[in-house]
């Protein structure tokens, strides 16, 4: 079984995804790309929660006489809620981008800024 640095690989993936998401959010001027970054950022947190629910050797939390060790189902349920929140956020963000595109004719942050300065 993996231990130490590699044993925690799921957490390293979480950190990698989280930082990639944040970087996209900060570095990209395109609003759609920002939403993509935001989604990646949120997804990394979902994986963090799911990882902590895993019990080594545990099976899916469905009551069965053949098993006695189950994974913790609570984080899964929490993340189901958080995914719904994430979908709602993405939907709202995309709807806003559609309206921004109608109003400004662009979804690039610097071009929007230019048009705001002129007006």
């Amino acid at each position: 079984m993996l231990t130490g640095f590699l044993g925690l690989y799921n957490y390293w993936i979480v950190i990698l995804l989280m930082m990639s998401g944040l970087y996209i959010l900060i570095a990209c001027g395109n609003l759609i790309k920002k939403v993509i970054g935001l989604s990646i950022f949120q997804t990394s947190v979902f994986i963090l929660f799911i990882s902590m629910g895993k019990v080594h050797g545990g099976t899916a939390p469905i009551l069965d006489p053949g098993f006695s060790l189950y994974s913790n189902p609570l984080p899964h349920v929490l993340i189901l809620t958080a995914i719904v929140v994430g979908v709602a956020t993405t939907a709202l963000a995309l709807a806003l981008i559609v309206r921004i595109h109608l109003a400004y004719g662009t979804v690039e942050e610097d071009e929007i800024q230019e048009k705001e300065d002129v007006a």
């Binding site: 963090l48 984080p75 929490l78 709202l92 806003l96 921004i100």
Partner: protein, 498 residues
């Protein structure tokens, strides 16, 4: 159901009533019936909040098991004096703003969207009340997102296209903040195996020194500071408040940032406890420095604004600084100052944003330059601005004075007189930016003749403005009720008997 039965269910009804009313408002489709419903609901919620305050004062902290599931498994709603007081602020502001909203919205958003507006504001109310009622850390995150998502949509309803970019900017920053809170809650669950705030608090002393818990604390503080718009994480606030419809600016300025401070109090005192927050993480020093910078920066920026709503928004950044400064003292007087300022500033800033709404309705613009001569053409509106402005400065006999008095007292108690100097200096700056508007409105004649014909704002709007400010002045003269509640809430947080 008997009367006692209903009373027992108040904590959940507080959240359920606006939540169920929101889709009904949407189904009503037309603005007028939706407005009647939203107004009725906000008044009902205010009455229930008053009932909650009374119950909490008589019986102490209320615990309500959602669906009858006992706390560690089910979600618990836990209402203490602080929670009830916050519910009173949020629902009270909503109840005063609703009558105002009809005429103001008619001028600011298309008629076919007004039913949607009331749906959103009811959802926002649900979220804010849920945050202050719940005793479950994850449930708090969910309610935070309910209130945030609806406020992004509310802000985007502003007349100008800048409202869209302001809403998008707030959405990005707000989601980062909320996700940071979610990470913190997740790390806490990892360490304790519980999400119930009381259970978390109980298990905290044993694990307070672990790195996971300090990381959780850092994530949560940053997330909450983003939602509170604490300097330097306030960047979303000025645009959002400037371009949102006036009713939304008033509602959010008076409630959303206040609930942010509530979350800060709840997490750092109730859940993490003084040991972790103030001894290991030195939160007090961090918050004090940021709070003073917020007060200085916000007040200075407000002096240089040309737009009335933007000026009020920067002033909010400064006022959040005062509240957080009170919190950072972590003493009974300091917390009392912070909590009572939540109430007082909600009334002052709510009232002033409503005044901006009246001005916007009549002259279609809130540039300070364009307000010349309004002292004559809109005497009641501008008189309200003067009263609210005095409250912002903190002149005696206004509620603003009470909170600043406690804040200065708390600073001197600790011997930190430079803090008192900053509070007084920024109050002077407040006098400067309030005076700029008063001077233009009363002592300058309008440059354009087209403005000569403007009249007073409609009665329904003036009533809301003046009710808000009259309550503010009342609690400036007779502050025993508000300071008493704030003191009890503060002692509850510090875990000391009065």
């Amino acid at each position: 159901m008997s009367g006692a039965g209903v009373l027992h269910h108040l904590p959940i009804l507080q959240v359920l009533v606006p939540l169920l009313a929101a889709p009904v408002a949407l189904l009503l489709r037309r603005g007028y019936p939706a407005w009647v419903l939203a107004t009725g609901v906000s008044w009902l919620v205010l009455v229930m909040a008053m009932g909650l305050v009374r119950q909490v004062l008589i019986n102490g902290t209320l615990s309500y098991e959602l669906g009858g599931w006992a706390p560690p498994w089910g979600i618990e709603y836990r209402v203490d004096v602080l929670g009830a007081f916050m519910a009173l602020i949020v629902s009270g502001i909503a109840a005063v703003i609703m009558p105002f909203s009809r005429r103001s919205l008619a001028a600011e958003i298309p008629a076919d969207r007004s039913a949607m507006f009331y749906t959103l504001i009811l959802l926002c109310l649900t979220g804010l009340l849920g945050i202050v009622m719940t005793g479950d850390a994850f449930n708090l995150f969910v309610f935070l997102e309910v209130s945030s998502l609806s406020s992004y949509a509310l802000i985007s309803m502003g007349r100008r296209r800048e409202a869209l970019t302001a809403a998008f900017q707030y959405l990005i920053m707000g989601t980062i903040g909320a996700t940071a809170i979610l990470i913190g809650v997740g790390l806490l669950y990892m360490m304790t195996g519980t999400l119930n705030m009381a259970d978390l608090a109980e298990r905290m002393p044993d694990i307070a020194h672990t790195r996971t818990v300090t990381a959780a604390f850092a994530f949560i503080v940053v997330g909450v500071a983003l939602k509170t718009a604490l300097f330097p994480l306030h960047l979303w606030l000025p645009n959002a408040y400037t371009y949102a419809p006036s009713v939304v600016s008033a509602f959010l300025a008076a409630t959303a940032t206040k609930v942010g401070v509530y979350m800060l109090l709840r997490f750092s005192f109730t859940i993490f406890g003084g040991l972790l927050a103030f001894e290991i993480m030195n939160l007090d020093r961090l918050l004090l420095v940021l709070a003073l910078l917020a007060a200085l920066y916000g007040s200075t920026a407000a002096v240089f604004q040309t737009d009335l709503k933007r000026m009020l928004a920067y002033s909010s950044v400064a006022q959040i600084g005062y509240t957080v400064a009170g919190v950072s003292f972590a003493s009974l007087t300091g917390l009392t100052a912070g909590i009572v300022h939540l109430f007082n500033h909600a009334l002052v800033k709510g009232g002033l944003f409503l005044v901006a709404g009246c001005v916007l309705l009549r002259i279609g613009n809130v540039t300070i330059e364009r307000m010349a001569g309004l002292g004559r053409t809109m005497p009641w509106t501008m008189a309200a601005f003067v009263v609210g402005g005095l409250g912002l400065v903190g002149v005696p006999a206004t509620a603003g004075f009470i909170s600043k008095w406690y804040l200065v007292q708390a600073a001197l108690e600790r011997g930190w007189w430079p803090v008192a100097v900053v509070v007084l200096f920024t109050s002077l700056l407040a006098a400067v930016y309030v005076w700029r508007v008063v001077e233009v409105a009363y002592f300058r004649t309008p440059a354009q003749t087209s403005d000569a014909g403007v009249g007073e704002a409609p009665l329904s709007m003036l009533v809301s403005v003046w009710v808000m400010l009259a309550i503010m002045v009342y609690f400036g003269i007779n502050a025993s009720l508000t300071t008493g509640l704030a003191r009890q809430a503060a002692s509850g947080l510090l875990g000391t008997a009065l």
